[in-house]
């Protein structure tokens, strides 16, 4: 694992669905399950709302990782939003590869409203993977391409 630059704190964006993953995250709070504070969450009604451009904008803004989390298949409050989102993630993952970003920086998971513990585990995994990958090339302070963006 390459040594990460001093002072770098991973900046991870999570876009999570209101009915399942946001509720699961709240449950982890209620249960006081501790996990690292490196993730900032934005709430949408359904992962179907997540436009591929939101993720590309996040990465070009210097996000080190992006997590999209919604309901398990079959549980979506709007029936199919999570299926559509999952399909889009494959598209975005290939885009990331093309612009030289390790596609492990983008992750989609499925966490239900009753899976508080799983949410904490997902956050830990994402933070660990981000530490492993180090700062994103577009990271404003530490990325190699910071002057390009």
């Amino acid at each position: 694992m390459a040594e990460n630059p001093e002072g770098w704190q991973p900046r991870i964006l999570a876009i999570i669905c209101n009915w399942c993953s946001y509720a699961g995250a709240d449950l982890a709070g209620g249960a006081r399950i501790q996990y690292p504070p490196d993730v900032r969450a934005i709430r949408v009604m359904c992962t179907g709302r997540v436009d591929a451009l939101f993720i590309m904008k996040a990465f070009t803004d210097g996000a080190d990782s992006v997590l999209v989390s919604g309901c398990h298949f079959g549980d979506c409050h709007y029936l199919e939003g999570n299926y559509k989102a999952a399909k889009r993630m494959f598209l975005v993952k290939s885009l990331l590869k093309n612009i030289g970003l390790d596609d492990r920086r983008l992750r989609m998971t499925f966490v239900s409203a009753s899976e508080g513990a799983k949410w904490a585990k997902v956050i830990e995994d994402v933070v660990n993977v981000t530490h492993e990958l180090g700062p994103s090339p577009f990271n404003r302070e530490y990325g190699e391409l910071k002057n390009l963006v």
């Binding site: 900046r11 964006l13 006081r32 900032r40 009604m45 709302r49 436009d51 549980d75 409050h77």
Partner: protein, 679 residues
Amino acid sequence: MAEAVSPTTSEKPKAPRIGVYVCHCGTNIAGSIDINAVKEYAKTLPNVAVVDDYQYMCSTPGQGKIETAIKEQGLTGIVVAACSPRLHEPTFRTATKEGGLNPFRFEMANIREQNSWVHMHDQAGATEKAKDAVRIAVAKATLLEDLYPKTVPVEHAAMVVGAGVAGMQAALDLANSGIKTYLIEKAPTIGGRMSQLDKTFPTLDCSQCILTPKMVDVGRSENIVLMVNAEVEEVQGYIGNFDVTIRRKATGVLSPKEAEARGIVGGGCTGCGDCAPVCPVTKPNIFEMGMAPRKAIYIYHPQVVPLLYTIDWDACVKCGLCVEACGTKQAIDLEMKDELVQVKVGTVILATGYEVFPIENKEEWGYKRYENVISSLEFERLICASGPTGGHLVRPSDGATPKRIAFVLCAGSRDSTGVGKAYCSRFCCMYSLKHAHQIMEKIPGAVPYIFYMDIRSFGKAYEEFYYRIQDEGAKFIRGRVSNIQEDPDTKNLRVYAEDTLLGRPMEIEVDMVVLAAAVQPTELTNKTRKLFGVSCSQDGWLLEAHPKLNPCGTTTAGVFVAGACQSPKDIPDSVASAEGAASAASIPIHRGEVELEPYYAMCVEDKCAGCGMCVNLCPYSALALVEKDGRTVMQVTEAKCKGCGTCGGFCPGGAIWMNHFATPQIVAQIDAFLLGGEQ
């Protein structure tokens, strides 16, 4: 990117002035976040006009701060950094509205459930995260616009799925409050599990005696449309406007009304039972847990409601003998086909109940391997006067009356091996005490051995009932049964456990073993719940909206849960939760209309290329292509759109504006987080 303004906004937006309010929530937030640091930081954010904090923002004085600030400072948006929006968004929207500002110009920053509570030992990290959360919320609040909730009419009808004691109670309450209620039951009769019980604890009422009056009321109530042998096939729509398709399975037997509709005067099944004796095919009656026979044309038991015979098509050989026996009533139609019925209802209550866990999966107790090991529900039928043995408890192996009976509690419950169920099934302790009483009462000299870990006698008069049964002579052994061995000749059973209070292993030879098996949702529950968009908790039971604040509701507006389908419940709790669900379900109906959050999509027509990609993305078919002054553009039927945003997240031209979650608002949040707010 689309302009930062929705297509319908006419006047130029005023210069943004945002009020930021940071809540201490006692020590819940202040305990691990530096409130002042967040406040000072908020003051440095663009467009922020007012920053304040308070011990409990959700309290009246807290809300008062928002109202006065809006009036005095002319604020255009409010941000409250406190708990989860799922908890107090409605509270602060009302406060915003009281202040004279449109309630949707409000955004919450979740710095409790998703911050202070989960980063208790990292104040620096938590405070940093809180600052970011406020900055993100302010960025969105700056771009929020006036929105007006859609009011939708509510159909003056309700549906209850499942007609056990909970479903029946809910349907009766709804019907008695003047609401037309469709009661859907998959079995040929209503009554569910309760009709299979002999006595009920702690009062030892006969179950059928206290249930039959309710069953008759359901049968007679004009406001209840009872459909047995029926399953939910498909569900469209949303609160107030559920279009439900019911599959009424062909039973081969016409009710008097159905016969009349076919012009058969005075015909239809009267439950006389002439058909059954002539029927040549016999099958096990699952109501009697397979311990009694019934013909291919059958009723479960004499008190069925509706009193109609049913044909088991897998068994029926279509010999027609029953048709002749039926004679002039002409109630039997062997070519009857399933029927799909369309029904429109305002709210739905799921009361799909429970079934017994397949306890043979726990091999160590030998269920289905040893003849004299039976399940608790089988015991109920054997001890029941209307049961297969007329209430005489007999050993399946030789029909003898058992004298020494072992009751194995926690059979499959409180089991985290992945084979059984991790949860406590709640009412097995109490019915095992009842079973012990019943055998001591009915069989002179009978000795019940109750193998338990804890006797959970939690309800009203439950502990006193436990006291009474112990006093009557039941033997209690504090030890979970390790395994059971059968004596091949006598078919007696040796039960091995440790009396942990005595500290000695025990081998007790008994004539019969009753397994107080765990319970689980019925087989059909998973399919039905998905049709209504209701998710289940990790233990497989239906997930309530909130275990304490909204136990009868679900996250799907207009769909409620009652009875054991939400989690194991005894009869008192099932009936109470049914009454709760019925009252909750009747509110929208009585109000006649319901407000829906105005998160619907809108088409930015001058950007729309009319490609139609979004149309088939919508699961509610709320989008359509229309001709508008020479161009094909997309059009949204607002009533159908539920605001999921799947179309908004895809439109290649950025021509779809999602109210309250518009693309500029979300991008502003992303930029606020990653670029410190500058665009």
